[in-house]
């Protein structure tokens, strides 16, 4: 065991002596820490949506940025309606007499869009390039709805104000969340999924490279004749894991503490991302570390299949793909954490590292499910570690082209 710690210490020191590793850690921590203190010195109210500018200034600006629309309303349903001004406070409507002229104006971008009103309940919306968030038609639809109601009231001798007053009576409500509030927990869950994905992609490749390096520099034969190859592999994997954990903990710790200090100055604006409940952080730590070790052993095994560090990327390509698929699937299902996909993912060792804490943060999960999922992760990690050590020893003196995982497993079976 003492020799395992010798390997662990030697490998861990190589991370500490790695200038880019240290500079990245310090630089990112200082940068994020500094950003958290920024509102003390710079006015970020615009960025945070807490503007204190006066109304007059706002108006001046709005005048300059008035939106222009074209309207063809031959029967006069809308063009003189007061609702246009109500719904389009900051817009200017140009009246067109024929559709051709309106279309031309839209094409030449003289107006942002055009509305062709056919009767009190039909209109066409003319737009040149429809952007993803274009709600022009929706807004005009509301104007038309009121116009329609007004015409109906006139025809049937009804009081329009009375009717709208009773139909659109303001109802007030207060929400009391007794369980979990997905809208509060969504963003930090998102951030943690992205963070765990990045940690696995970045560090596990470093671990695979470190495992391959001894074959690359031909030191492997001296090493395997000096120490059990299991100690060598686990020394490398665990030192890489500790380095990754420390870097993430330092960066995350500095950011969270700095934000906590300046939370009032920020007006709690970053709460959705940085005010993470301790139980979610704990679940993230347990499943994150477990999942990382699982992947680290897998990457370690794949690193052992190549004899040149430049071949590592070729060897780990398939596994990278799995990590990316898990990442995309979990992110896409973030608003459906009680769905079957996330539930299945939360038990698989390849995906439980992020799927389970997402369920804990956003969904309904029983304690026994967490325990079972963690147990599966731990057992899988131990198995993969054992397999990786076997592959490492088997691949010791196989120089040349990378060995495929299938050949490696076949050889292990043969032994």
């Amino acid at each position: 065991m003492r020799r395992f710690f010798t390997v662990f210490e030697f490998e861990f020191k190589s991370y500490l002596k790695n200038k880019s590793f240290m500079i990245t850690t310090i630089l990112i921590s200082v940068l994020l820490g500094a950003i958290m203190f920024l509102p003390n010195f710079v006015d970020l109210s615009d960025m945070l949506g807490t503007s204190t500018k006066t109304e007059s200034t706002k108006k001046d600006t709005d005048e300059e940025e008035k939106s222009k629309y074209g309207i063809l309303d031959q029967k006069g349903y809308v063009k003189d309606s007061p609702f246009l001004e109500t719904f389009y406070e900051n817009a200017e409507f140009k009246i067109y007499k024929d559709e051709k002229a309106l279309k031309k104006a839209v094409e030449q971008e003289e107006v942002e869009a055009g509305f062709v009103v056919e009767d009190d309940s039909h209109f066409r919306y003319l737009v040149w390039n429809n952007s993803m968030y274009n709600d022009g038609a929706e807004q005009f639809n509301q104007v038309m709805t009121f116009v329609h109601k007004q015409i109906y009231c006139q025809k049937h001798h009804l009081n329009f104000e009375e009717m709208t007053g009773s139909y659109d009576a303001p109802v007030q409500y207060k929400q009391e969340v007794l369980g979990k509030n997905a809208s509060d927990n969504y963003w930090y869950s998102y951030v943690l999924v992205v963070a765990s994905f990045m940690v696995i992609i970045l560090y596990c490749v470093m671990i695979a490279t470190s495992v391959a390096s001894e074959k690359s520099n031909r030191a492997i034969e001296v090493l395997v004749t000096s120490i059990d190859s299991k100690f060598l592999l686990f020394g490398k994997v665990l030192s890489g894991a500790l380095a990754a954990f420390l870097q993430v903990a330092i960066i995350l710790g500095v950011t969270l503490v700095s934000y906590q200090i300046n939370r009032d100055v920020w007006g709690n604006a970053l709460d959705p991302v940085l005010h993470i409940p301790s139980d979610v952080l704990l679940a993230f730590a347990f499943f994150g570390i477990g999942g990382f070790l699982f992947y680290a052993c897998l990457y370690g095994a794949l690193g052992a299949l190549v004899s040149k560090t430049e071949d590592v990327n070729k060897s780990v390509g398939g596994l990278q793909m799995i990590v990316m698929i898990v990442y995309v699937v979990v992110l896409m299902q973030l608003d459906n954490t009680d769905g079957i996909i996330v539930k299945v993912c939360s038990y698989l060792p390849f995906s439980s590292y992020c799927a389970m804490f997402v369920r804990i943060a956003l969904g309904n999960v029983a304690m026994w499910e967490i325990v079972v999922s963690f147990a599966i992760l731990v057992v899988s990690t131990v198995f993969v570690g054992w397999l990786a050590a076997k592959i490492y020893r088997m691949g010791t003196l196989r120089y040349g082209n990378p060995i495929s995982i299938r050949t490696a497993l076949k050889n292990l079976k043969g032994e």
């Binding site: 020799r3 030697f10 031909r218 030191a219 034969e221 004749t225 000096s226 120490i227």
Partner: protein, 303 residues
């Protein structure tokens, strides 16, 4: 201490590459493991070091099964390398500690061997900044840093210039003198002749010659003589012998300035001398032929 290798057999992918290798070596002696490329030397050494498992055979140390990890062994493999981006002393200490040497002792040993191999000034340099020869010396120093009882060197002289080779030869002689077991494989016969009392020649996975080097040389030289004429070139003298002395000798070969001859059955050295005098030959060389290890090697494993 006596290390015995008995009837080692090894197959790769169903093909037997070692067909029963046996030899032994004792403390205070060096054994030269010789053979052409692919003969099975490195495989034998790797089985000795437990990198490969033998299919058959055993290795004994003082009559008991030999487990490499239970002993301090200095091993310089054929495929060798260290950490190019780490400091010389740091990696030597690491390698010693992997062999269970305490840190202080490891540091002390590392410094001692770096000084002995005349590279002490580089202890805090990154390995990659050293010349190839000095890197090779660091590699040798790291073999010796664990104070080994048995030293196994696979082609230790490759990459060393004559001065560094001399330093290594001196170190190996010192190790033999203090009672270590030294096994080394090499293609450079002159180094083997220099300090190996015993040799093993392996060809195509089997031992074709084994024993004490002096005895082997004597056995190979027996009944052969070196013969030279002061007034004739080697070619002229060869022609003369093949025409005039066919009843007494047979020409086996030649060196730069003399012939290697063998007396025919029933003929003595006295008969040959008498015949040479009668034929008016001015004898320049007349002595027992002792073949070089190179000659023996070529004869044994050459095509």
């Amino acid at each position: 201490m006596k290390l015995e290798v008995k009837n080692l057999k090894k197959s790769f992918a169903g093909k037997e590459v070692l067909h029963g290798i046996s030899f032994s070596v004792e403390s205070g002696k060096a054994l030269g493991l010789l053979g052409r490329n692919g003969a099975g030397k490195t495989t034998t050494i790797r089985i000795l070091m437990d990198v490969f498992r033998a299919n058959e055979g055993e290795i004994l140390l003082d009559g008991k099964p030999f487990v490499p990890r239970n002993h301090q062994i200095g091993y310089l493999p054929e495929e060798r390398g260290l950490y190019p981006k780490r400091k010389v002393l740091e990696q030597m200490v690491y390698l010693a500690m992997l062999r269970n040497v305490p840190k202080t002792k490891a540091k002390e040993n590392a410094k001692k061997w770096l000084e002995r191999l005349e590279i002490g000034q580089y202890e805090n340099n990154l390995l990659e900044t050293l010349s190839k020869g000095n890197q090779q010396k660091v590699q040798l120093a790291s073999v010796l840093v664990c104070d080994p009882e048995i030293i196994i060197l696979d082609e230790p002289f490759s990459g060393l210039d004559p001065v560094n080779s001399q330093i290594l030869q001196d170190v190996v002689k010192e190790l033999i003198a203090v009672g270590k077991i030294v096994i080394f494989s090499s293609h450079q016969m002159s180094y083997v002749e220099e300090f190996c009392e015993d040799i093993v020649i392996i060809n195509q996975g089997q031992v074709v010659l084994e024993g004490n080097l002096n005895e082997i040389k004597l056995a190979y030289g027996r009944e052969q003589l070196i013969l030279g004429d002061r007034n004739k070139s080697v070619q002229e003298f060869k022609q003369f012998c093949e025409q005039e002395l066919t009843e007494i000798l047979q020409v086996c070969g030649q060196t730069k300035d003399a012939l290697i001859v063998k007396l025919l059955e029933g003929q003595t050295r006295k008969d040959l001398l008498k015949a040479l005098l009668e034929k008016n030959v001015e004898v320049e060389q007349f002595e027992t032929y002792k073949p070089s290890l190179n000659d023996i090697f070529v004869e044994k494993v050459g095509d």
